[in-house]
Amino acid sequence: MTKSLTFLGIESSCDDTAAAIVRADGGAAAILASVVAGQTELHADFGGVVPEIAARAHAEKLDLCVEEAMARADIGFGDLDGVAVTAGPGLIGGVMSGVMCAKGIAAGAGLPLVGVNHLAGHALTPRLTDGLEFPYLMLLVSGGHCQFLIVRGPESFTRLGGTIDDAPGEAFDKTAKLLGLPQPGGPAVEAEAGAGDAARFAFPRPLLDRPGCDMSFSGLKTALLRARDAVVAEHGGLPRGRRADLCAGFQAAIRDVLAEKSRRALVDYLACDPPHPAFAVAGGVAANRAIRGALEDVASRHGARFVAPPLALCTDNAAMIAWAGIERFRLGHRDGMDLWARPRWPLDQDAPALLGSGKKGAKA
């Protein structure tokens, strides 16, 4: 049996500062503590995450989160076997603060340091929560990302497709903003959609007419804006009922695109004959019940087990970073004190870039 390992994880790649302690004992894993300090209120006035504001908050919250996680887990630095930290991709100011804090802790405590890809953290979470076996199909769907991956190992990912522009979470946030709903947009739009008629407005299902698993959501945002403006022009404002209809229509469009692209991804994945077929989702958008229900249907129609980690482990957190760190550590991976914070770090290094190109290379 593999040796028991206890890792501190640190995450600061977007607008959540997080620290967690995870202990892995053979095949089983336990989250001893998971602390997430959000920044929603700091960014509320700006209609989106402001990188410099996020970086400022991370720099002064990281050590406090680590301290709290250690206290909740009731352990000291001597009880740890290593420190794992998100080293990218993400907003570089926050990632850099996290990496430096982790280096300081690792150096002072004499612990090994493991840099973790934030997306690998999400992609490996189903192994932490449900012990999934490789290979499984993963849909990462959040405010910053949207991609299908076949997860073959802790460092082996094949990207089947992804968004060529915006992420669905970002589209939910933008929709909420356009419709005068609070941030984060996902829960607000979902709540409104429950009372709306999805058929009143016709929204596009982008890229469904093209083969493959790539997606596009920016046109959907534009369509929503046009529909809203038409309603406002007609009524001199946005009636609540119409707002609910717009939310329902928008959510149905995202749901349909994700469900159909998931079906295609499942077909590709099942073609590689996995012994225990499984389809896992992660990211904040996976918390949307309409979307989750549709994805669950697709999985069951294809005989794949459907796994959605609990919401607190679907959205950004540090337990997934500690876990991914443990998985990399077991493969013999260690980083030096020169560990580099990377704004761009695609999981699948071989797939052509969907986002970002040129000198800086693929974004994710």
Partner: protein, 218 residues
């Protein structure tokens, strides 16, 4: 192994990576490398080199001193985040030191420190014989109106500002930045200190969205 308390100080608030190790009043080792980028990769290896040079280790330290700016935002956060991580795992205080105060350290007063803040602006602070003014950010052109009696000038923008402040002579630094931070931190070591926090002086440059939400009708 020296018997006096060891203070390790470092600074990445401008285009450099700098460190100094102090034992009581003595500098045991120091490094200063000019670099426009790469401080995040270089800082920790440099600190390990400084400790090794003096034949000491992380566990021998009594305190950390860190430059908190004002300066390059990312650079300041690199050093502050590392200092807070080190302080936490070593169980020793990390003491934040303003780089304006570090520049003024051991120079004759009255003195005005003027540091380049880019965009034709400067960070500046007055140091009198009996205390100091508040650190500030101003346009270079506004300095004459803000500073009545500058005394001597020092800092990266002192020479640039001196023609606008007639009669003020320009002084070089009394010691390297990291050494000054170490000495100031060592002097404050006995007094409880807040955790080091970046001294930005300049806002985050974020603008509220231009498009207002629609009027919601019942």
């Amino acid at each position: 192994m020296p018997s006096e308390p060891l203070v390790l100080a470092f600074d990445t608030s401008a285009a450099h990576c700098a460190a100094a190790l102090l034992a009581g009043e003595r500098v045991l080792a120091s490094r200063h490398e000019e670099m426009a980028k790469g401080q995040a990769e270089r800082l920790m290896p440099m600190l390990e080199e400084v400790l090794a040079w003096a034949g000491t280790g992380w566990r021998d330290l009594a305190a950390i001193g860190v430059g908190v700016g004002p300066g390059n935002f990312t650079g300041v956060r690199i050093a502050v985040a590392a200092a807070r991580g080190l302080a936490l795992s070593l169980g020793i205080p990390a003491i934040g030191v303003s780089t304006l105060e570090a520049r003024a350290h051991a120079l004759p007063r009255p003195l005005t420190v003027i540091e380049d803040a880019r965009r034709d602006a400067v960070y500046w602070q007055e140091f009198g014989t009996d205390g100091m003014g508040a650190p500030a950010l101003d346009a270079l052109a506004d300095l004459p109106a803000r500073i009545a009696a500058p005394g001597a000038l020092t800092g990266s923008a002192a020479a640039l500002a001196s023609p606008r402040l007639p009669g003020a002579r320009v002084l070089g630094p009394a010691m390297p930045m990291a050494e000054a931070i170490a000495r100031i931190a060592a002097a404050q070591r006995g007094v409880p200190q807040p955790r080091p926090a970046p001294l930005y002086l300049r806002g985050a440059d974020a603008a509220p969205p231009a498009d207002p939400p629609p009027v919601i009708l019942p």
